[in-house]
Symmetry: C2
Subunit: 385 residues, 2 copies
């Protein structure tokens, strides 16, 4: 009956009331001057968030659509791709490569750990014939809460010409990402993460080198043709009907983001990561990812022995109105996840940990009420000093 | 920049998203069939919440307008009224009586305590000539967080014919109120309290005995003429232009309230009262009101010596996004208040106490982080068993 929730999943994230109001505006013509002004403002803002001077196009799809676009536009059938996988979304890149006839080479790391940039460096150094056309990798692996060292992976290429295609869907604006400075050829993001708007838009940055590759690409695509998107953008349009109200929301969200400023946004997400991890540790629960690779967007926690994620999450939602995520892929029944990106503030985490303590107590797991909250508070208090 | 707040003042209270969406509907003609259906549904719902078969009219004004209407419609110049005052809103009844030429007799009780029904009984018993035409009293005194025993005050009248005019603005639907069973002649409520909609509407129930008094009333009034409101309601209208979007919100809120059910609403508010009081006590702070008379809508807390309410409330709002209220009237600088009525849930109180602990710590007041939250959690855990 009540719609009020503390929504702490790694997307969709809470939508600010300003964005909701903006999205309630009357429909506009997507071929008229209003939309042109809208997409132009949005594009300028996106470039600032992406820290790039290259093109950024917006697709009316979920992030997965943009992952498909990346594979379909920058890899031709028979091309070799190195997919660096550290979790469920790495596996998704593999599936896409198979569907698009790409010669897939997987480099897997255990779920909960980060990719080793040196392993990527060694593999590319071996590839003296430059058979590998692209390296595909997640920045933030949403399923495990691990942040890859994308800068190091980019540098690991050395002089190898392979494109670096980065899934930064749940990372962008939560973790530092310097598209141009780090020489990232293609970077994908999604609307329902740190951009704070509902799902339905995906953003893709493409640099000059990647456009050259796309021009030669032989894969079949239509809706996800990024060159068409780039060309339409020159006249302030999209090739096909865009999700207009989401663009309106994106404009409003970008205004909020740029008003807060990227450094403040990044510091805030790092703070939430540290608050959540301190709270989890203080409750005697085990974190999946190590501190050095921990995500500022989402934290995965091992479910106490004898329980399933639903034992915790169902109670959290139904009794306390706090919505957490379960596991994905092979960790589906082993972890639960707290999303802490986007329109989240410290009091949301206070509320979540107080509720989590009560749920653990209800499940018969020993817990001192208030102890997790205290650890969360302590991190905030120290950071504020 | 962020609009997100944990709003814990004793009105306006948080407005549910369903209500906000409903209020976003296009404007309608307030003299047409849509408004007629609207006000008829609202009136049926209000009678259920008021637990009355008498008339309930809705004024487009704040609760103060309805307090003025009560004085102007049921007391004529020169009539004697007994104003039972336990706080700032009792003082408001006094002001209104003076303005409307009423012969005011004040019966004051110390702020933070409840009225003594036996004192009312004694005074009315002395009034053998029935000079006192009405007793005016708050059910919940918002300024002190004290709940009067309205049932006992009503019974204290015995056979004395004085009308009982009850300001239940912040009480209705948060504290049990049986308009007919308790023989309450006039009961006032307001939209921005447990009704969960923005300010701008006030509701007034009037029973047959009160209408008889109103028919003979000689005070000047036009906008606040309750008989005109009653007569217009017969044709599904209001005498003057109503605040239509607030009526639309009220309809939606009443649907939510009746779906939850009055007993559940009352239990929830009582729970919040107990959670807040346990949290306050555990932090070593002093409550203004005693347990026996504590309000389920708002809790007043004495500000620690050497501090002002703003020292706490400014930090709570600016650093943590938690909005509390200060004091009113003669307690303005002595107390701060936590509102816990309407669209509030336990996690809001967890968040508020975690923030309050941090603020107290910042002010140099000894506090164990998590201790207040633990006390708040404990009450909920026990109530859930």
């Amino acid at each position: 009956m009540w719609e009020k929730q503390v929504l702490l999943i790694p997307g969709p994230t809470p939508v600010p009331s300003q964005v909701l109001r903006a999205m309630g505006a009357p429909a506009i013509n997507h071929r008229g001057p209003e939309f042109k002004a809208l997409i132009q403002e949005v594009t300028v803002g996106l470039k600032e968030v992406y820290q790039t001077k290259s093109d950024v196009v917006v697709l009316s799809s979920s992030g997965t659509g943009a992952m498909e676009a990346a594979v379909a536009n920058f890899l031709s059938p028979g091309d070799k791709a190195l997919v660096v996988s550290i979790g469920n979304f790495g596996e998704r890149f593999k599936k896409l490569c198979k569907i698009y006839g790409v010669d897939l080479e997987a480099m897997d790391f255990p779920w909960g750990t980060a990719a080793d940039p040196q392993a990527v460096a060694r593999r590319l150094a071996e590839d003296t014939g430059h058979q590998i056309k692209a390296v595909l990798v997640q920045y933030n692996e949403t399923s495990t809460g691990v942040l890859n060292d994308i800068k190091a992976i980019s540098e690991a290429r050395g002089n190898h010409p392979a494109l670096l295609i980065v899934d930064a869907i749940s990372a962008l604006a939560a973790a530092e990402l310097k598209t141009d400075e780090w020489n990232l050829d293609v970077v994908i993001s999604g609307s329902q993460k740190a951009f704070m708007i509902p799902p339905g838009l995906a953003m893709v940055s493409v640099n000059a080198r990647a456009w050259e590759v796309a021009a030669e690409n032989t894969n079949r695509k239509f809706y996800f043709d990024l060159q068409a998107a780039r060309d339409s953008l020159k006249s302030g349009q999209t090739p096909y009907t865009p999700a207009v109200s989401l663009f309106v929301g994106l404009r409003e969200a970008l205004r909020m983001m740029l008003e807060e400023g990227l450094p403040a946004m990044l510091a805030r997400h790092a703070l939430y990561r540290d608050m959540v991890r301190a709270g989890v540790k203080s409750l005697g629960l085990e974190l999946l990812a190590g501190d050095a690779v921990a995500s500022p967007a989402v934290t995965a926690i091992k479910v106490p022995a004898g329980f399933k994620p639903a034992d915790i999450n169902k109670r959290m939602r139904e009794k306390y109105g706090v919505v957490l995520a379960g596991g994905q892929g092979k960790l589906k029944e082993d972890i639960f996840r707290i999303g802490h990106l986007g329109y989240v503030q410290p009091v949301d985490l206070f509320a979540a940990f107080a509720a989590l303590e009560l749920v653990l107590k209800e499940l018969g797991i020993p817990v001192t009420l208030g102890a997790g909250v205290a650890a969360v508070q302590q991190v905030l208090a120290e950071r504020s000093e």
